[in-house]
Symmetry: C3
Subunit: 395 residues, 3 copies
C-alpha cells in the first residue's frame, strides 16, 4: 500500500524508546511505540515484496524457547529471524543440561554470548509465563551491564499467560490493511467473544491481548463470555482505561448475540475460565495427575453447557449488514471439519478463510519488527540503508 519512503518518514517522526529493550506486553508500549512496530513491520514487508534483502545481521543468534507446542509461532519466529539474518538456536529443555536448581540468570547468560534476540513462549502456568520472561530480560540486562554479554539481547514474548503481543499486533496490522488505515478503525465495533470448543485449557492471552490493544485504537470493544469465563481482572481494567483515553469504548456482556449486534468485526475464540487456569497451574505444580484429569473433565463439561456459543451464519446476520469481518488466530475449531461442534460453522469460516490466512501472514513481519526495534536505536535509518543498499534477496 504505502511506499517505503512514506513509511520511513512516519517512522522517523515517532518518539520511541525501544532500543536495548524487550517486547513483553503491548500496554507497556507507548502509542508511538505501537505505531513504530507497525511501521517497521510494514517496511520489512515492503522490502520483502520488492525482493530487497532485509539482512541487517551478517551473523548472530536468535534463541527460541518454546515451553509449549507451537507451529505457527515457531515458523513465524524462524522466518523473522531469517529475514533479518539471524540463525535460530532452540533452547530445548529436554536436551539441555540445565542442572536442577540452575538459575534462570545463569542459563540466560550462557545462551546469549553471541545472541541478539530471545523469543519465549510460556503460556501454560497462570502467573508464571510473563514473570519468567521478565526474569530472563532482567538477567540479560544485568549480564550486559556486568560485561558478560557484549550486546543486550531483546526478549520477545511469543505468548505468555497474560498477553500474546505478536498475535494482537499481527491482528491489528491485518485490520489496518483491511480497512486501509488505523484512522479508519476509529468507531469500529469489534466483538471479542468466547466460543465453544471441545478442547481444554486454551490460554487467556489472545482475548486479553486483543481487548487491551484494540481499545487503544478508538474502537468500540465488546468482550463477551458465558458466566465463569472471565479474564485476568487487570486486563479488564486496562482495556477500560485505554478505551476512555482513546475515545473508544469497552464493555463486557454475557451474550454472544449481544456482542455480535451491529459489529464490524467478530473474533470468536475459546479460552479456559480464569479460575480453572488458576487451579490447573496449582495442580500442574503439584504434578497431581488425578486432580488434573478431574479438572479437565469438569472443565469440558462446563464448556459443553455453552455449545450454542458458536459463530454461525445466523449469528453473523446480527452483525453490521450481516458482513462483519471474521477473525481468528488459528487453528479454529470448525464445526463438522475439525470437530463435531466448535467455535465456528464451516460456511462462515470458509468465507473468511483467506482473510484469516492473511491475518496470520503478518506475524513474521511483526516479530521481525520487534526484533529490529529492540536492537537498533534508529530503525528508520537502518531500514533506509537496507533500501539504499538494494541487495536482492533472491537471484
Amino acid at each position: 500500500m504505502e511506499n517505503l519512503q512514506k513509511i520511513l518518514g512516519e517512522l522517523e517522526a515517532l518518539k520511541i524508546n525501544m532500543h536495548d529493550g524487550d517486547f513483553l506486553l503491548t500496554w507497556e508500549k507507548s502509542h508511538d511505540e505501537i505505531l513504530a512496530t507497525l511501521k517497521t513491520a510494514a517496511a520489512l514487508k515492503n522490502l520483502y515484496e520488492n525482493n530487497i534483502s532485509a539482512r541487517v545481521f551478517d551473523s548472530g543468534l536468535a534463541v527460541s524457547q518454546f515451553r509449549d507446542n507451537s507451529t505457527r509461532t515457531r515458523f513465524s519466529f524462524a522466518s523473522a529471524a531469517n529475514l533479518l539474518g539471524l540463525t535460530v538456536q532452540d533452547l530445548d529443555e529436554g536436551k539441555s543440561q540445565i542442572a536442577h536448581g540452575e538459575t534462570v540468570r545463569e542459563t540466560s547468560n550462557m545462551i546469549s554470548f553471541l545472541t541478539e534476540v530471545v523469543g519465549i513462549r510460556d503460556d501454560m502456568y497462570l502467573g508464571a509465563g510473563n514473570t519468567y520472561m521478565r526474569e530472563v530480560a532482567a538477567s540479560l540486562e544485568k549480564g550486559h551491564k556486568e560485561g558478560v554479554l557484549h550486546q543486550r539481547p531483546a526478549v520477545v514474548n511469543l505468548q505468555c499467560d497474560v498477553d500474546h503481543p505478536t498475535q494482537s499486533m499481527a491482528d491489528l496490522m491485518h485490520l489496518e490493511h483491511y480497512y486501509g488505515s488505523l484512522e479508519k478503525l476509529r468507531g469500529k465495533k469489534i466483538a471479542m467473544t468466547w466460543a465453544y470448543s471441545p478442547s481444554y485449557g486454551k490460554p487467556l492471552s489472545v482475548p486479553q491481548g486483543i481487548i487491551c490493544l484494540l481499545s487503544r485504537m478508538g474502537m468500540n470493544v465488546t468482550l463477551a463470555y458465558p458466566e465463569g469465563y472471565s479474564l485476568i481482572q487487570d486486563c479488564i481494567d486496562i482495556a477500560g482505561r485505554n478505551a476512555n483515553q482513546s475515545g473508544g469504548s469497552f464493555r463486557v456482556v454475557n451474550s454472544m448475540e449481544e456482542a455480535f449486534e451491529d459489529a464490524d468485526i467478530v473474533y470468536p475464540k475459546s479460552w479456559a475460565p480464569f479460575r480453572v487456569m488458576e487451579r490447573r497451574t496449582e495442580l500442574l505444580r503439584q504434578k497431581n495427575q488425578d486432580a488434573l484429569k478431574e479438572l479437565e473433565k469438569e472443565c469440558l463439561e462446563g464448556n459443553a453447557r455453552f455449545k450454542n456459543w458458536e459463530c454461525t451464519e445466523e449469528k453473523m446476520r446480527l452483525t453490521k449488514g450481516g458482513k462483519a469481518l471474521y477473525m481468528h488466530c488459528l487453528p479454529a475449531d470448525i464445526t463438522a471439519v475439525s470437530c463435531r461442534a466448535g467455535e465456528v460453522s464451516a460456511s462462515v469460516f470458509d468465507r473468511y478463510r483467506v482473510e484469516t490466512y492473511k491475518e496470520a501472514g503478518y506475524k513474521p513481519y511483526v516479530i521481525a519488527a520487534m526484533m529490529l526495534l529492540g536492537r537498533f536505536k534508529r530503525p528508520a535509518a537502518v531500514l533506509g540503508e537496507l533500501a539504499r543498499r538494494g541487495k536482492k534477496r533472491v537471484g
Copy 2:
C-alpha cells in the same frame, strides 16, 4: 568434467517448464527437464568445487518434513538448502500444535509465508505419501493465487510410496559420471533386483524410481524379484512404455542370476512385497498392533525363503566380464558386517564401497537443482550470474 560454460550453454538450450512447480515424480518430467536437472546439479557441483558461492538466496526458508527417520536425505536436503542460501526449518509434527483435524491446506500455508521450498519424506503408507505431497503442493499453489503467499514454494519429494526421485536422479548422475556421458548409457544392461534382508517393510520407491527413470535412457533394464515381491503395476507399465520410446528394453524376471547375466550394472536391494505394504498401510491406519506384529513375522519368514538372493562374488561373475558396477542407495545390509545374512557379501560391497559413497554424494546437488529449477525461470542465467559474481564460498 565438463566446464561450467559448456554446461550452462546446454542447459540454456533445453525446453523446460519447471518454474513455480514441484518435483514429485520423474515420469512427470519431460526428457529435457530430466536433463535440465542433471545440468543444474552439475553446474552447482562445479561452482562448489571451484569455491564459488551458489547462494542465490540471501534469506528464505526451506521447510523439511520427515514422516520417517532419515540421515542421508536429511543431510542432503540441509546441504542443498544451505548451498543456495536457504535455512532449513523442520516441521516436526511431534512439537507442533497441528490441531486434530487441521487441514493440510492450512498447515501448508502457515509454514510458508517466507518459504521457498518444502521437502517431504512420506514413504510409510502405500497410496498416501505421494497423495499428501500433491495436497501440500495444491495448497501452496492456491495460497499463492489467493494472495496469501507472496511466492509459490516448490515441493520436493524426498521419498514417497511411489518414487524416490532425489535418489534415482543421483543414481543417474553417478552413472553419467562413471561412464562419461548419458549417451554412453544407451544399450547398457542394468539389473535392478530384489535382495534378501533381515529387516522389514522397506519402501518400494527405490526400485520403482530406478526402473522408471533408467528405462528412459535407452538402457536395457531388467527387474528381478522372487514371486510375490512385485511393485506397483503402474510403475511396471511406465517402465515398459519408457523403454519402448527410448530404444531400450524392460523385462521382469524371477531370478537374480538371470538378471545378472551379462549385466553392466547391478542394483541389488531389498523391498517389501506390494501386498504386504498394502495390508500394512491398512493395519497402521487401524493402529492394529497385534496384526502388525503378525504381519511383520509373516513377512520376515517370507523373506527368509529367499536368502539366496544375495549379491555374492559368485553371482558377480555372471555379469559382463565379471565386472558390473555395483550400486546401492545405502545403507546396504552387508552379510557378516551389518547382519548375519543380507543383500550383499562383504567382499563385493568393499570393492565398490567408494563408488557407492560417490553415488550418494550427488544427492545434495540433485536436490539443490530441484530447488533452483522450482524457483527460477531462467536457471542458466541465474547460474551464469553466480559464476560472474564469483563470490568465494570459503575464505
Copy 3:
C-alpha cells in the same frame, strides 16, 4: 586488550600444522599450536566486538553430534559456527536412519559432503568417546583421500572421556585475560580439586584437561582428591611431564586444604571415581539397569563421605591473601542454592559469579578458532582479510 594487528603479527610468527586436522586433545598440540588457538580466538573476539563480520564461509555445514545432554557447549558450538558463516546440522541419532551395524565410516562420509566441521560430545563411556572421535576423523581423512569428500572436515572434541579441550582452552583464555598475559601465569599456583556433589557420574575430562593444559604454562598445579577419586593415569603422567618441561610443577594431594594453601587460583569441581566410571561403562554396555542403580547408590554414598570437600569461605581464607580466583566450568552445585550441600558455598560463588560467566564466554571464540585453524592453512592472512574487508556484522 591487544589490538588486532598485534595479535595477527604474533599468530603469523607461530609454527603450526593444524590445517586439515582435528582438535581432539590439547596434549597432541604443540606449544605454538596452543598459542595459535588462543590468538585466533582473541582475533575473532576482537572482530566481533568491533562489529566486523567474521564470516569466512558464505555457506557450509557444521555438523554436531551430542551423545549427552548439553546446553553451554551446544550454544557455544552454534555461536562459533554462526560467527564463521556455517550452519549447524545436528546428527540426532534418535531421528536417524543409522542402520543397525552401519559403520562409523559410512555415516561420517554421508553427513559430510558439504561439511566443514564435525563437533562431537561423547563423554559417557570411559575408553570410548575419544576413540569414537578418532574413528570419525580417520573416516573423513580417508573419504577425502578417496575423492568422496571434496574437503576434509575438521573434527572438534566437544568433550570426551579423556579431555574437554574447548573448556580447558576457554579457561586458559580466561586466565590470560584475568592476569593480563600468559607470561603472568608462570609460577602461579592453581588447585584443581575434587569437590562434593550430590549428583553422580560426572566425567573426568575437565580435571584431566585442566592439569594437562595448565601444567604447560609454567604454573604450579596441585591436583587434590579424596582417596579413590583418581584420574586416568596417562593424564597424571602427562601433567607431570608437562610441568617438568615448562618449569612449573605438578603434585597430587589428598586434601582440599593442602591444595588451597597459598593458591592463586582454585577450581573445585566434582567428578566420579575412575573405577566407578569403568564399571559404569561396562554396565551401560551390558544394559544392566539393576547393577547401574546399585552402582549409583554406592557411588553417591561414596561421595557423601566427603561432604567436607566444599569450597567454603573458610577454605578460601587459606589461599593467597584469601583472594584466590575461583573457577568453574558451570553449572556448579552451589550449597543451599542448587542443592542442599554441594561443591561451593553460595557466598564464594556469588563473589566470583561474574568471573565464571566471563570464563564461559570465551568458549564460542575458542571453538570458532579450532574450526578456523582446522580449515585454513594461513589463519593470520584469513583474519587479516576479514579486517580489511571490514564488513559490518550488524547494521
